[in-house]
């Protein structure tokens, strides 16, 4: 356990340069975006000079890049993550929106894990037969269709036409309002998980130790479980873990189509408006979460595969 602790601590230290690097990079990118962020606030009408002057002052928009960045960092260390142009605090936004994104991500994750692994195993066991071919073709189609097409079609078919699920918004609560967006969100990853599971299981089933297990006279279900799955699912689990981290990042397109008020939506509008502090704050938070999840996945990998445990 001490080894695990030290490893985790070492990885944790890496977060620090990542934090600075990310905030700098994103801030720079936002800064480099064409257009005056204040002008973007004027939709059709132009904001008047006094108001613009106020914003310039408030958000240090007049300062050169480095000054802005350093002022921002200074704010962070006093706990001020910044605000939107309208005065809503970034921390507040995060607290309000992250749970939504989290729910969506977890729901999608459950779909992708259960369906992906389930069908993948089934396809591997029935290699060459109908279900195998069907799942391969189906997953190829899912990978090929752009996510927004899938989203709109699903929304129209299952929401508007059939009325099985709410069309948009989360007022119907969990799980009903989240199911449709979660499935669409999971679709691409599901295809990958399915193929990965199938491939991994097929390879594992060709391994020597499977032959040994049969020579031991073990029943086929035990062989599948302890010899087949326990080995073949290792790469699948690590993929799923990394995917979960990515899902947390907020699916901008899905959130837009289904009007889910998560981090993705907020990022989209903040980027459009040029609200650098919001984008930096949210992206940095997401990066840290991503790193955390990845760290957990790595530790989990060690739990699952004893061969890499004692590195």
């Amino acid at each position: 356990m001490a080894i695990v602790g030290r490893y985790a601590a070492r990885r944790g230290l890496q977060f620090v340069p990542v934090f600075f690097g990310t905030t700098f990079l994103v801030y720079f990118l936002m800064f480099a975006l064409p257009g005056d962020p204040l002008a973007n606030l004027s939709v059709g009408k132009q904001a008047n000079p006094a108001y613009l002057a106020y914003l310039q002052e408030q958000f240090n928009l007049d300062d050169p890049f480095f000054v802005q960045y350093l002022k921002y960092l200074g704010g962070i260390f006093t706990g001020d993550l910044g605000q939107t142009f309208r005065g809503q605090s970034v921390a507040e936004i995060f607290v309000e929106r992250f749970p939504v994104t989290l729910k969506l991500a977890l729901t999608a994750f459950v779909f992708e894990a259960l369906l992906g692994v389930g069908i993948g195993v089934w396809a591997a066991l029935r290699k060459g037969r109908f279900i195998d071919n069907l799942s391969l073709a189906g997953s190829l189609i899912l990978i090929s269709i752009p996510v927004f097409v899938l989203g709109y079609v699903a929304q129209w078919l299952f929401g508007v036409k059939l009325g099985w699920f709410p069309v948009a918004g989360i007022s119907a609560g969990w799980p009903m309002a989240y199911i449709l967006p979660a499935i669409v969100l999971a679709a691409l990853s599901l295809a990958y998980v399915l193929r990965l599971t199938r491939q991994s299981l097929l390879e594992t089933l060709n391994s020597d130790f499977i032959r040994t297990a049969r020579a031991k006279g073990l029943p086929p279900w035990t062989i599948l479980r302890k010899y087949g799955l326990r080995n073949s699912l290792i790469p699948v689990v690590t993929f799923l873990g990394a995917d979960l981290a990515a899902l947390m990042g907020g699916a901008v397109v899905i959130e837009g189509i289904f009007n889910v008020p998560g981090i993705g939506q907020q990022l989209y509008s903040s980027i459009r408006l040029g609200e650098a502090v919001v984008v930096v704050g949210l992206v940095t938070a997401l990066v840290i979460i991503y790193l955390l999840v990845n760290l957990l996945v790595d530790l989990l990998y060690g739990v699952l595969d004893p061969r890499i445990r004692y590195e």
């Binding site: 008047n48 005065g87 309000e96 009325g163 918004g169 289904f258 040029g274």
Partner: protein, 554 residues
């Protein structure tokens, strides 16, 4: 019960006749509304889609969506009502008793009716307005609507003392509560204004009055407004919804429905999907790809009225050598078949323009552009040839990618086909980038400025103010001293006829110079479900919330 008593108030100033129509007025000036009284049932709740209003604090609220929420929860000084001719005029609200000037437009007195209170029992008095307005103008507070009191608008005495980011003044000397009368507001302007303009400036954008607690802590106020209107927020707003319910203590005419649910959507596409899925009752605009099917899907639950206070125009830099010849500019105008574009791309939710002001504005709707705005490819070509052709042989049109790329592409094609000139598009990712480009001075000589304008209130002046030399929104930097003079004279003219005349003359001049001309007028578009009735949308895009009745109350 209350309403009958309240109707007995005297009105001063302008808009006398239209005020009497307050009770029965339900027409939006067109024929396709479903607002006849028999279906005016009370009770029930309905939902409206809005885009994220960011903030709903009245002094900071400029965008349509937040104004919409405020129109339900507040009663301000004025409303806009359609007159007999169908034109919308500024009208004192039930809160306002009279608006009078003591000296032809510099000193004003606005008298309020008693009895209006905020939902926290604080009375709505003159001090309420004075405090709210001072707060708004104060540069240190950074409120969007501060410009209402600035020299480019009302020009209230004492504005410079409070408006800069570092000024120390807290009150404008030109605003005061009348001595011994806490229901009268005194306003002193630097320059005289006509009654119509004075009221319009206060009506659009309207700064709703705020209770003291709101002015002290606007952040908390933003979460749950305390208003004085027919509806109130019974619970704080979430990021996705603002729910309002009937205000039982409202002093004015009550709304019909028991409650309204403002739902926040990220984009119009999702609004449309939800409307079709019977989950939403009213959408204030349709996504482009729904326009073709809207009338068949919605039938008569669809409004598409010309005359929204918004237009798109082409502008030419006055020092451009390419467009020096007026005939060249006119040729460009005549070479594009806008009605075809409006039909094919916009499914008739846009209309061709004959002047800057539609007929929903008093004095508007006359054909001031004349032949210059009429499509005629052959005539255009001969005009161009007669002027010696297009110097350089090519033009470039600026366009914001997400808004009107299709439109400008079609226009460009027509210029190429009908005039034989080359045409290309310069796309910008957003308005900010476009503005940057305009102010950088990098625009090439053959650049056509494709821009738009949305007016704040229904006056001709509001539609053409961007062509005033002093206006910071005058991006093409058009400058004609005569136009400036006419507009200024109209602003102070004390009778409506002279006023409109002056402004119409200004319009004519602009169209004579032809450095800018409108090519497309917007329509007011909205769609709703079969659960509600009585949907009236004014040319500013504001839905009359209290009038909507819920016919299907489950």
């Amino acid at each position: 019960m209350f309403t009958k008593a309240r109707k007995k108030f005297t009105i001063g100033g302008v808009a006398l006749a239209s005020a009497l129509l307050l009770g029965s007025c339900s027409s939006s000036g067109t024929d396709t509304d479903a607002s006849s009284s028999p279906s005016a049932v009370s009770g029930g709740t309905y939902s409206i889609a809005i885009e994220d209003p960011q903030t709903i604090v009245p002094t900071d609220c400029y965008e349509l969506y937040c104004q919409q929420v405020l129109s339900a929860t507040y009663t301000g000084l004025f409303t806009f009502e359609a007159g007999e001719s169908g034109a919308y005029e500024v009208t004192p609200s039930e809160l306002t008793n009279s608006v009078e000037t003591t000296d032809d437009g510099k000193n004003w007195e606005i008298t309020l009716n008693p009895g209006f209170t905020f939902t926290n029992d604080e009375k709505v008095t003159a001090s309420t307005f004075v405090d709210t307005w001072n707060y708004t103008a104060n540069g240190g507070n950074g409120q969007q609507l501060g410009f209402v009191f600035s020299p480019s608008y009302l020009n209230v005495v004492g504005y410079e003392d409070v408006s800069g980011p570092k000024t120390t003044g807290e009150t404008m000397s030109g605003l005061a509560v009348a001595k011994d009368d806490d229901l009268t507001i005194e306003v002193t302007l630097e320059k005289a204004l006509s009654p119509e303009i004075f009221q319009n400036f206060l009506a659009g954008p309207q700064i709703m009055p705020m209770p003291t607690v709101g002015l002290k802590d606007p952040k908390a106020f933003d979460k749950q407004l305390i208003g004085n209107g027919p509806y109130m927020m019974a619970e704080p707003r979430t990021g996705q919804e603002i729910k309002v319910v009937k205000n039982p203590d409202y002093a004015g005419t009550a709304g019909l429905a028991d409650g309204v649910d403002f739902r926040v959507y990220e984009n119009k596409q999702t609004m449309w999907a939800d409307l079709q899925g019977d989950n939403l009752d009213l959408i204030p605009d349709l996504p482009n790809n729904a326009l073709s099917s809207a009338s068949s899907v919605l039938g008569d639950r669809y409004v598409n009225d010309p005359g929204a206070l918004s237009y798109s125009f082409y502008g030419f830099a006055s020092d451009s050598k390419t467009f020096k010849e007026k005939d060249v500019r006119i040729a460009i105008s005549k070479a594009i078949n806008w009605s075809e574009i409006n039909e094919k791309i916009w499914f008739d939710t846009r209309s061709t323009a004959t002047s800057f002001a539609p007929d929903t504005i008093p004095g508007g709707g006359t054909d001031l552009c004349g032949d210059k705005c009429v499509f005629d490819a052959t005539a255009a070509k001969s005009l161009l040839d007669g002027a010696g052709g297009l110097p350089g042989g090519s033009v470039e049109i600026g366009v914001i990618a997400s808004d009107s790329k299709d439109t400008q592409t079609a226009a460009c094609n027509q210029l190429q086909t009908n005039l034989g000139i080359k045409c290309s598009l310069k796309t910008f990712s957003g308005f900010g980038e476009y503005l940057d480009f305009l102010s950088s001075g990098d625009a090439p000589d053959n650049f056509i400025y494709a821009l738009g304008w949305v007016a704040d209130h229904p006056t001709i002046q509001a539609m053409i103010t961007i062509f005033e030399s002093s206006n910071f929104a005058n991006d093409i930097q058009y400058s004609n001293a005569e136009v400036d003079r006419l507009i200024a004279e109209g602003n102070v003219a004390s009778d409506p006829t002279t006023q409109q005349q002056k402004w119409v003359e200004a319009e004519q001049l602009i169209l004579e110079d032809f450095y800018a001309y409108p090519y497309q007028m917007r329509n007011t578009v909205a769609g709703w479900s079969n659960r509600i009735d009585n949907v009236v949308v004014n040319p500013l895009g504001m839905i009359n919330i209290p009038k909507i009745s819920v016919t299907e109350q489950s």
